[in-house]
């Protein structure tokens, strides 16, 4: 019993991180209908910025954990957001009116550029950050225990908070209304006076910021990363976005949680050798039953 509960906790934290990264895929797809293959690498860049930020803050003699974490979050989210803006500006905007395929190729190219740029500038070695927060809450269950580390608890809380703020921004603010309008009909929105280029830029920045949030949290938790770390997690997050219905914000979060839980439960209760086979089979099954994902709306062809 304690083992099943522990696997639920493992899956929930893993899933919330997948969800955070999936948001970047789903928002970009929703607004311009492209799959941003460089998104996983934006996450990877944010892992490096996290390490640099921690090093900088400790260099300036800051030792209290809350200040380091808040400072790192702030710095990383800001710098990664800037990366998101620049990437959209140089790789995607010039191709705004060409076919979807060219943008896709441009995204793959961007992903390669980011990987090689980081490899050249930071070295190809495995990098690590020191452990900042240790300790855990334990509950006795039967004769065993279920534990959640403070770090994992923080991951859950910050991701929920991040998703909450994002949902509020999209649903309630003027910026969100402009995003939704651009998503529904870009041409009509621009006729009505919305600067759609700016809205699209903003969406890229928001997506990159969410990836940065995940980047800080995961880097602090697992400690290890390299220039290739964005690939696997990017694929997983993309799967989560498709699972939940690409283009749908709550869908990305739900997809992330389902993916994380199914991986943890399958690995924990059956076999870790085939956990990816299981998650992808689940994806195929869901897409057979609901081709547009769990919460996705059936595609209406835009004219």
């Amino acid at each position: 019993m304690d083992i099943v509960l522990q696997q639920l906790v493992n899956g929930l934290t893993l899933g919330s991180v997948y969800g955070l990264i999936a948001i970047g895929y789903t928002m970009v797809y929703g607004i311009i209908g492209m799959i941003n293959f460089a998104h996983g690498d934006v996450y990877m860049v944010s892992a490096y910025i996290t390490a640099i930020a921690i090093a900088l803050l400790t260099f300036f003699g800051i030792e209290s954990f809350p200040i380091i974490i808040i400072g790192t979050l702030f710095l990383t989210v800001a710098v990664t957001g800037a990366y998101g803006w620049v990437i959209e500006r140089i790789a995607y905007r010039p191709l705004r009116n060409s076919s979807r395929l060219s943008v896709l190729i441009s995204a793959i190219g961007m992903s390669l550029i980011l990987q090689n740029y980081v490899q050249l500038s930071q070295g190809a070695n495995q990098q690590g950050v020191p452990t900042l927060l240790t300790g855990a809450i334990r509950f006795s269950v039967g004769d065993g225990f279920v534990q959640i580390t403070y770090m994992k608890l923080m991951i859950l809380l910050i991701s929920l908070l991040g998703m909450g703020i994002l949902t509020y921004v999209i649903q309630k603010t003027k910026l969100g209304r402009m995003c939704r309008a651009t998503q529904q009909d870009r041409k009509m929105a621009s006729i009505l006076g919305i600067d759609t280029d700016k809205v699209i830029s903003t969406v890229f920045v928001i997506g990159a910021m969410m990836a940065a949030l995940a980047g800080v949290l995961i880097t602090l938790d697992y400690g290890a990363f390299d220039f290739y770390v964005g690939f696997i997690i990017g694929i997983k997050a993309f799967t989560a976005a498709v699972l939940g219905g690409i283009g749908s914000l709550p869908g990305a979060m739900l997809g992330g949680l389902i993916l994380g839980l199914s991986e943890a439960l399958f690995a924990g209760l059956i076999s870790s050798d085939y956990k990816d086979v299981f998650s992808f089979s689940l994806l195929v099954l869901i897409l057979i039953i609901r081709p547009s994902g769990l919460l996705g709306k059936p595609e209406v062809e835009k004219v």
Partner: protein
């Protein structure tokens, strides 16, 4: 038109000139993961080979010809290993190769070297299948995973008296091969593993597997794989409160193991099998002190690569720079290296394996267990 003909002639002359120039030196490839997640090992190999080549050249080269090293990066990817092996054979004209690192790269590349008549000496690939292929040109100066697994298994049974052993691997040629070899010996001792699982290379979250290890209440966790997965694994094991002893093989012999795990506190007490410390060979003292004087600590595979270069040079110089004749010669002659006298059997394995147990301490360094 005539202009073009002249230009073509000129180019072919220039090419012929370059080829003649190249024959004045002996090209030797250093193939390994110079980039990618395992680049730390590639660096160890390069440092060792570079120093050996410099020392040999200072002593007059191979039969008067200077050694020229070519860095070949396989990133521990089997496909890339094949393509760089072809490049070394065809366009670089290498006579010999020191490499590769990962067994999954060495095995496919070895066949290309055999076809091209190139001598191959790997400092690190321990999977038994490499020399079991029966290729005449392949040698290794490390042990084999079946020997390494034996040493680990007998330590677990005889010294630790462990009854509940969990066996994990990274689903790669090296990692799974090592884990399976260890498991086979363990079972021969009558100890049945309580868990046998594979994880995915490149992932960082192993909490699900760790919870499973906790649930089977393992005393010992044996992991076949490399440090980039071993680090997060041992950290998550400790975070979930497991006190199981963590034992691995020669795939974690790098300082990066500590930084990837997060802090020396997590790697303290981790054990591994690796060849006897190079400093135990009197013949290696000079090289080691020269390395240290240049500000580089010759850890892990550095001296193995140095030794591999010495063996390659000796085999080529005794056989008029004919790699395949050199390979045949190696099977029946012993060579004095910085890591002592080395003898090969007809498969290309060392006749004596020297695996011993090491332990990591609370400062993030490893020492042989006495």
């Amino acid at each position: 038109m005539s202009n073009m003909v002249i230009r073509k002639t000129f180019i072919s002359l220039a090419v012929a000139g370059a080829v003649t120039m190249a024959q004045a030196e002996v090209v030797i490839g250093v193939a390994g993961p110079h980039t990618g997640a395992y680049a730390a090992f590639g660096e160890q190999m390069w440092k060792g080979a570079e120093k050996a080549a410099a020392d040999l050249n200072a002593a007059g080269g191979i039969n008067g010809e200077m050694i020229k090293l070519v860095k070949a990066d396989d990133a521990c990817e089997p496909k890339q290993a094949v393509s760089i092996a072809n490049r070394l054979v065809d366009s670089d004209g290498a006579l010999a190769v020191v490499g590769h690192f990962c067994s999954s790269s060495s095995i496919p590349a070895s066949r290309i070297y055999e076809e091209g008549g190139v001598l191959m000496v790997t400092p690190a690939s321990t999977n038994p299948a490499l020399t079991e292929q029966g290729l005449p040109n392949v040698f290794r100066i490390c042990g084999r995973d079946d020997q390494q697994g034996d040493v680990a298994a007998s330590y677990i049974v005889d010294e630790l008296n462990a009854k509940r052993v969990a066996v994990l691997h990274d689903k790669d040629t090296y990692g799974k091969g090592l884990a399976d070899a260890m498991k086979a010996t363990l079972n021969a001792y009558g100890v049945k593993e309580v868990l046998y699982e594979g994880l995915t290379r490149g992932e960082k979250d192993f909490n699900a597997v760790v919870t499973k290890i906790r649930s089977v209440d393992a005393d010992v966790v044996y992991f076949g794989g490399l440090h980039s997965e071993a680090g997060p694994l041992v950290r998550q094991l400790r975070e979930q409160g497991s006190k199981a002893l963590f034992i691995s093989g020669d795939g974690i012999v790098s300082d990066e193991f500590v930084s990837v795990a997060g802090s020396p506190a997590y790697v303290e007490g981790v054990m591994m099998t690796f060849g006897a410390p190079p400093s135990s060979y009197p013949s290696g003292k000079k090289v080691i002190s020269e390395f240290r004087a240049s500000g580089y600590e010759p850890e892990g595979y550095t001296l193995y690569s140095y030794t591999a270069m010495q063996i390659v040079a000796e085999a080529l110089s005794k056989n008029d720079l004919d790699p395949m004749a050199g390979a045949e010669w190696l099977q029946s002659n012993s060579i004095n290296t910085v890591m002592g006298k080395k003898d090969f059997d007809e498969k290309g394995d060392l006749t004596v394996s020297d695996y011993v147990m090491y332990e990591w301490d609370d400062k993030g360094k490893y020492h042989q267990i006495n």
